[in-house]
Symmetry: D2
Subunit: 286 residues, 4 copies
Amino acid sequence: MMQDSNAILLLSCPDRKGLVARLSNFIFQNNGNIVHADQYTSKQGKYFFMRIEWELGGFALSREEIPVVFAPLARQYEMRWELHFTDYVPRVAIFVSRHLHCLHDLILRRHMGELDASVEAVISNHEDARELVEQFGMKFFHFPVTPDNKDSQEDRQLVLLKELKVDLVVLARYMQILSGKFIGQYVNRIINIHHSFLPAFAGSNPYQQAYNRGVKIIGATAHFATEQLDEGPIIAQDVIKISHRDTIADIQTKSKDLERIVLARALRLRLEDKILVHGAKTVVFE
Amino acid sequence: MMQDSNAILLLSCPDRKGLVARLSNFIFQNNGNIVHADQYTSKQGKYFFMRIEWELGGFALSREEIPVVFAPLARQYEMRWELHFTDYVPRVAIFVSRHLHCLHDLILRRHMGELDASVEAVISNHEDARELVEQFGMKFFHFPVTPDNKDSQEDRQLVLLKELKVDLVVLARYMQILSGKFIGQYVNRIINIHHSFLPAFAGSNPYQQAYNRGVKIIGATAHFATEQLDEGPIIAQDVIKISHRDTIADIQTKSKDLERIVLARALRLRLEDKILVHGAKTVVFE
Amino acid sequence: MMQDSNAILLLSCPDRKGLVARLSNFIFQNNGNIVHADQYTSKQGKYFFMRIEWELGGFALSREEIPVVFAPLARQYEMRWELHFTDYVPRVAIFVSRHLHCLHDLILRRHMGELDASVEAVISNHEDARELVEQFGMKFFHFPVTPDNKDSQEDRQLVLLKELKVDLVVLARYMQILSGKFIGQYVNRIINIHHSFLPAFAGSNPYQQAYNRGVKIIGATAHFATEQLDEGPIIAQDVIKISHRDTIADIQTKSKDLERIVLARALRLRLEDKILVHGAKTVVFE
Amino acid sequence: MMQDSNAILLLSCPDRKGLVARLSNFIFQNNGNIVHADQYTSKQGKYFFMRIEWELGGFALSREEIPVVFAPLARQYEMRWELHFTDYVPRVAIFVSRHLHCLHDLILRRHMGELDASVEAVISNHEDARELVEQFGMKFFHFPVTPDNKDSQEDRQLVLLKELKVDLVVLARYMQILSGKFIGQYVNRIINIHHSFLPAFAGSNPYQQAYNRGVKIIGATAHFATEQLDEGPIIAQDVIKISHRDTIADIQTKSKDLERIVLARALRLRLEDKILVHGAKTVVFE
């Protein structure tokens, strides 16, 4: 239904005078109606970021023509850019190990129509999630990982992701470290949830670290995966208060609620094409 | 210093195709450089809101010419609009009664350079604030109010505000109800702080109301004053957790911190020309 | 396993000198080890509240003897009191209509071992929840409600609750108003989730009310059900920020996350016997 | 006014059966009325913490007798303990450098009667604060610090603190590192505010660190000063959301509000004798 769908341009480039005018004219002169336009210029470095969403109904260019016509303009301004259509349903693979709360939450949201994505696969190094996943009619793939087979299993996972035409990988508490090779094939397309308020308590066992340090607030962080573990661009964070009365088990229980909400929020922002990555940071048009 | 200042257009109108392009072209064709552009279209009612800020340095139109040249465009689209310049320092009058925490906070922020406003007068129906106000070199005006002299005192206050060319009135816990006549002369230019999470606990003694109801969270609300008390468009709100252990005195202490922060945030948003009022609600471009 | 379980006394009475000593001596002289003791004395009204938890292992009195021996002491101080054992798993019935997010969340938490309760029945006036409920091996009961059969259906529900020996009723977005008769049989044993920050936006359609009023923060409230709708003692509340950009659908999505968390928190507090009701308010020993 | 004052015992010791009974009996048998009793037993390490507050009016022991009579009981249970009286007004010295927002806030709270402390001195390595401090009738001491005179200036500061009988030192954004010698004389009596969510962004320039890392939430931490900078026991923390739009200046402005509130909260907790330090962590009886 062409008339109900929108196109979205996500772009960034060095700041130049007239950029907003140039871009909005591109839409207007092709008879498009802008429904959202968010723009941001970093003061340091003078870099320009924009997200424009316009109605495809009545637009003078077909979906195939838009990138062709836009490309020269983009080259002129040295833009990095992406074009999306709101009626495309992204294909997602969820990686999980033994902590299933985030997976369960994503399944629930999918079930209730809150996440506009198609879960093509749930992939795990353990069997724990199989029953739940299959109960909801999704495909489960078990890739047991040992130090010896880690590389070959990753290769098999990559083949599977290609076969399933996966757009986006969600690490929903996946306890294996992905190789640079794997990450390199899905740059800014792997969302990880870390169960601490990064950069505090990076690495393993953040619940125990938080308990030992005696912090009064704990957090969770969703970020794009990069080779440097826990250092990828942050998409979303949230926190909750704790006290001396909270045991590690209490911290875990409270954190799980955070992790679910923060991961779901980050995923939704990505599915709505509201995130631009710039260096080690994100621009999020909420 | 023309070259360091920016112009800001705040406008709203019925949504029409090409509005963003039309407006950004107006700036671009006059050789302006847009530094911020925020735009929002309400889905209900299809109304368009925009805030554009551009550099005056190098702009083809003088400050006086801008409104003249812009007016026809505004008429064509049935816009309500305001034009501001970032180097103008708004003139503010603060009204206060006996609770001085908000006043004290505003003085502190002013003193530390956090509020870009000129406090022309502090006006009160009590003498409590005089010493503090005069200590910081500001003018204090005492208008004692009785049921009999309320109208005449308001008239005198209005005369004073005109004399001092006050742009903005801040009710920093002012315990008198302003008349429709007064408010009518400063529509969307009177910011009030109410010590509850409106619309909960409107009216008098919200601390006591919150205590009696046994809520677990209390709040504060900054809003534009309207004739219907506590029903004006909300600018900012914030909350803090309480428990059964909190006495009314504890609630008051916690609330005061909220009130200070929420009022300061609302005032800053207004001073930065980031608020548009539409019906009973605000659009805040943060 | 007697040795791993604890006893919990929840009590309230007019404040008297020596109460803490008297109560801790009762435990100590019977060779009990106190693991938690929370106490609170209201300044208004001078009322005393306490929660004591002690190990049953080595305690001189059997479970049956404790209330017998404690009763005279309780009478002397005019106490209202409850005795609980931590190894008893409360039997819960969940009522739901067509919004299933809270139900789904409770099922998830039950599944992950986060809620120490036995869900004996899910009761609904619609069929929507049946598939999900039965998928997780729980019993679903459909009680369609019309103005004509409302009373008789409630009577049948009450019979069912008795048969199933239900201790606690959770209204997880149940859209029928329960009669005074029903509530009277489960005083302080029915937890309702209201999708607003009460007392703001009581009644129907709080999302729409919040949208219309233009609030900048929305909330959710878990409370004990009373005959006066939405006026029962509040157990837990939480909030989230919104902006003018949030449509009613966005408000609903954000609110659902709140509702799930707030209801789960309230239920957990109740299952851990940490709530005392006093008049229209709660004392929550977190 | 003996009859209006309370005594407070803060104590910790290895957990033993009957501790609560033993302690509450101590009060009761001397005809005391307990107005607050908070207790906590750590599950790891089985350590017991308690805060008891009782009315001195009618109590059988004089202020001088209480520690004498209590000492044998404390020895028996290997307690660390402190005895406080609510009518004693602690004597505080505030250290500050050039950022005056926390100092200003403490002065304001003192002025409004929110902080029950006597500010005996404001000490700074700069002159910036003098005018403000003297304006409010407090004593200002300037100790310029260079690498050469650092030790001798600290010695002079210590002499001054002794002379003024200071109980508590508040580092309200003091940019000098105190020596182990200084800290050793005020163990758990120096409260520092760090302008980040520790342990994230310890060390210098946390605003810049937060900006560079692209976090979505910033925080502030009040803690007791220890030799290991920024590693002392945490008393209070709070956070606020930021976005990519926030410049370092914006982060600073938002953080300052946090710092003021978190420091004031930590100080109030200390003045109300609600903090116990245990190892690297605090037990806070709120």
